[in-house]
């Protein structure tokens, strides 16, 4: 038995925050009658690394594509760098980089020709960075894109996205096809490049270790909505996992403020709680005549519990 309670509202943002990079209001999107995004409200401040988490089919790719105007939306508004984003256009595109989930453009083109083609459109293109990454990631610039493996194409898409040194980098599962070495190298590059003030990264991934390494803000997409956006450190400091066990088992979880999710597994009751003092948990265990075990959840644990 699982009971999932609504996540408490986020604390109000401080008044002095800079203008957000992205503001989404009431975004709705359906595919052939199947509602994928059901009124997404989301504000992304500048200078943050945001990890977009959600289960398979939650709508992460759809949301990211809608944000950049790459998929038509049914309702709602999207503002990118302060201007409505109905479709990709305007000077702000010089400030945006995107790594799609799958890269299947121009299979007949050679890597070098593709990068030359792309670079010609940008006001700023870091040729040295692109050349270094091609070299370090062992991408043959004379190779045709169609002959690259999926992982190599992913690397090329990343090079193409970060070479213009964008202010906003949107990555849709960028490391899914990468080997561990390439993943680490990519994360290193990403953090070095996007660590500068004002640079924002939004990326969806299932590899939670990468988000932990990036100390990202976590945005959870579930039921077609962003359920919460919280800094990872804050999530970890305020949430904990309490396991109450007793031989008689549990019929219903006891009511207690701060419980986000309650799950009964055999004789154990698993509680995901927020801002609940340890003393209060010990008191609960005593009242329910149960033993108590408190665990600090990893991001993966939180994802499993909340997504």
């Amino acid at each position: 038995m699982t009971t999932l309670l609504s996540f408490p509202a986020q604390p109000a943002a401080p008044v002095s925050e800079p203008a957000p990079v992205l503001r989404v209001q009431g975004l709705r999107k359906a595919f052939e009658g199947r509602q994928v995004l059901c009124g997404v409200d989301w504000t992304v401040p500048a200078g943050r690394v945001i990890g977009l988490l959600g289960r398979n089919g939650a709508g992460k790719t759809t949301l990211l594509r809608c944000l950049l105007g790459l998929a038509p939306v049914d309702a709602g508004s999207i503002e990118l760098f302060g201007a409505p984003m109905t479709e990709p256009g305007g000077e702000r595109l010089h400030r945006v980089g995107f790594v799609p989930q799958g890269f299947d453009l121009f299979p007949w083109m050679k890597v070098r020709a593709y990068l030359d083609f792309t670079a010609a459109f940008y006001a700023h293109w870091n040729h040295a960075l692109a050349a270094r990454l091609l070299d370090e990631w062992q991408l043959d610039s004379k190779q045709k894109i169609g002959r690259l493996s999926q992982g190599q194409r992913q690397k090329l898409a990343i090079v193409r996205a970060i070479a213009p040194e964008p202010d906003l980098l949107v990555l849709d599962e960028p490391v899914a096809s990468l080997d561990p070495q390439a993943r680490r190298a990519f994360m290193g590059e990403l953090l070095a490049l996007m660590g500068a003030p004002g640079k924002t990264v939004i990326f969806s991934t299932h590899i939670t270790a990468d988000l932990e390494r990036a100390d990202a803000d976590i945005a959870l997409l579930r039921d077609g909505r962003i359920q919460f956006v919280r800094p990872l450190a804050e999530l970890k400091s305020r949430l904990c996992h309490a396991v109450l066990s007793r031989p008689a088992g549990w019929t219903t979880p006891p009511a207690m403020p701060g419980v986000l999710k309650a799950r009964v597994a055999g004789a154990s009751l698993h509680l995901l709680v927020e801002d609940v003092p340890t003393e209060r948990l010990h008191q609960l265990a005593k009242d329910e005549e149960a033993s108590l075990r408190i665990e600090m959840p990893t991001l993966e644990d939180l994802f499993v519990e909340l997504a």
Binding site: A71, P88, W108, G146
Partner: protein
């Protein structure tokens, strides 16, 4: 400027031969205009070369841009604006410069020629983006073939009319609007169909271009999908009731060739009948007209399906691993045999389609020798189908090789068709038809059995194809 240069290079990078040839044509055309005009028909030669070059260049350009204009590409800064600037530069190159040169050296009707060049470019581009646009020109062909006198009078008067120029410009603009609008729109990508199926008439979809369908196309696709789903469910139910080898084969067919069930074939024939009727109407009004052409065309349409099998089987390779594990064959040979058996249904399907189109043609043209046409179509479509399936199953894997093989099969089949018409006409149905069947079906079956043996011998390949 760099972006415009890159856009200009794009088609030449994809099709270097086309790029080189059309630019040579452009140079030759300008040379004709500048050097020959005072002495001979330089202007006419130049205009002809330019029109042909422009048509091919814009057809290629449209094919490339159609593949390039995916939603991600629109994230390139000012992509649309630069595309528009490139379009302007392209129009200056192919229309403006030659027209100005013609005006400068006093070529008569230079403005009209320039407008026609623009129309040729727009036609090529539109046909490259939306293949159905070529159908818009069919009524003009019908008119020209049916009433050549009228067509000639229209052309003669049009040259003198002040309205011709703006009207032609309007048509060119309309064509560009028709082709550019869907290309520059960002829409959700529709789900892919089976790589072995091609619902378009041309069956020439490239892998790098997103499937683009009109409202009618989407509706037809919906019908085909519903029919395919029902056929698959029926095959599944029958197989569960009694899992025989034949029912298992049907099930595999429904999976690999979802649109090759009886109802879908009938629907496809009905759609093709519309195009066949159009073709016959065009052909009928050309003199001299040979009714047997209808049979030849029907055979060609039936054979147009097979190249898709070669391409599709290659694209499907990674997914076929799943089928392999599901079928759990005792030996690899058994698995290869299952696939070959499943695909063999395309031969009778193709023959039935060819016969149906021939019957339609016979009715429309009031052919004098209907049985001859039917007999020859039956034999040649079957033999040609067997050979086509064989070569596309085991033939070359690269695109150029496949095109050569396809061209050889089509040429051979057409040769057999016309030889068959002559043979049956001369020796009669029994001897002529018998001899034709012996040669064509004997050859077809021989090739098919040899190919089947080779296919069985080969190990199944599940590697993703290199594009």
């Amino acid at each position: 400027m760099r972006a415009i240069a890159q856009l200009w290079l794009l088609p030449s990078r994809q099709m270097p031969l086309l790029g080189a040839l059309v630019h040579l044509l452009w140079l030759a055309a300008l040379a004709c205009l500048a050097l020959i005009t005072p002495h001979a028909e330089g202007a006419a030669i130049g205009a002809g070369l330019l029109a042909v070059g422009s048509w091919f260049w814009h057809l290629g350009l449209a094919t490339t841009l159609r593949g390039a204009c995916q939603p991600e590409t629109f994230l390139l800064p000012a992509f649309r604006r630069r595309l528009a600037a490139f379009g302007l530069a392209d129009a200056v190159t192919w229309v403006g410069l030659p027209a100005l040169l013609a005006l400068a050296i006093g070529v008569p009707h230079a403005a009209l020629g320039g407008t026609l060049l623009l129309l040729a470019a727009a036609m090529g581009f539109a046909m490259g983006v939306e293949r159905w646009i070529s159908l818009l020109f069919w009524p003009l062909l019908v008119l020209a073939g049916w009433m050549p006198g009228l067509a000639s009078a229209v052309v003669h008067n049009a040259i003198e009319s002040p309205l011709t120029l703006p009207l032609l410009l309007l048509v060119a603009v309309l064509l560009l609007r028709l082709s550019l609008h869907p290309m520059l729109q960002i829409t959700d990508r529709p789900p892919d169909t089976s790589p072995l199926e091609g619902l378009s008439v041309g069956r020439g979809a490239t892998t790098d271009a997103a499937p683009r369908r009109s409202a009618l196309g989407r509706r037809l696709e919906g019908w085909f999908d519903t029919i395919a789903q029902r056929a698959l469910e029926q095959a599944l139910t029958r197989y569960r009731q009694q899992p025989t080898a034949a029912r298992r084969r049907t099930l595999v067919r429904r999976l690999l060739l979802p649109h090759d069930n009886a109802l879908a074939i009938l629907l496809r024939m009905a759609i093709m009948a519309v195009f066949a009727t159009l073709y016959v109407v065009v052909a009928l009004h050309r003199r001299p007209f040979h009714a047997s052409v209808v049979g030849a065309y029907a055979v060609l349409i039936a054979l147009a399906r097979f190249p898709q099998i070669g391409r599709g089987m290659q694209r499907m390779r990674p997914n076929l691993a799943d089928l392999y594990l599901t079928l759990a064959p005792t030996t690899r040979t058994q698995y290869q045999q299952t696939l070959a058996d499943a695909l063999l249904v395309l031969v009778p399907t193709g023959t039935a389609s060819a016969l149906a189109y021939t019957v339609l043609g016979i009715v429309l043209t009031h052919a004098t020798q209907p049985w001859l046409m039917l007999l020859v179509t039956l034999i040649v479509a079957t033999g040609g189908g067997l050979v086509a399936l064989a070569v596309h199953l085991i033939g070359p894997q690269n695109a150029v090789g496949r095109q050569w093989v396809n061209a050889a099969v089509l040429t051979g089949t057409m040769a057999m068709y016309w030889a068959g018409v002559g043979l049956v006409d001369a020796l009669g149905y029994v001897f002529g038809g018998g001899l034709l069947a012996l040669v064509v079906l004997g050859f077809g079956l021989g090739v098919w059995f040899a190919a089947q043996r080779e296919y069985r011998r080969r190990e199944p390949c599940f590697d993703a194809p290199l594009t």
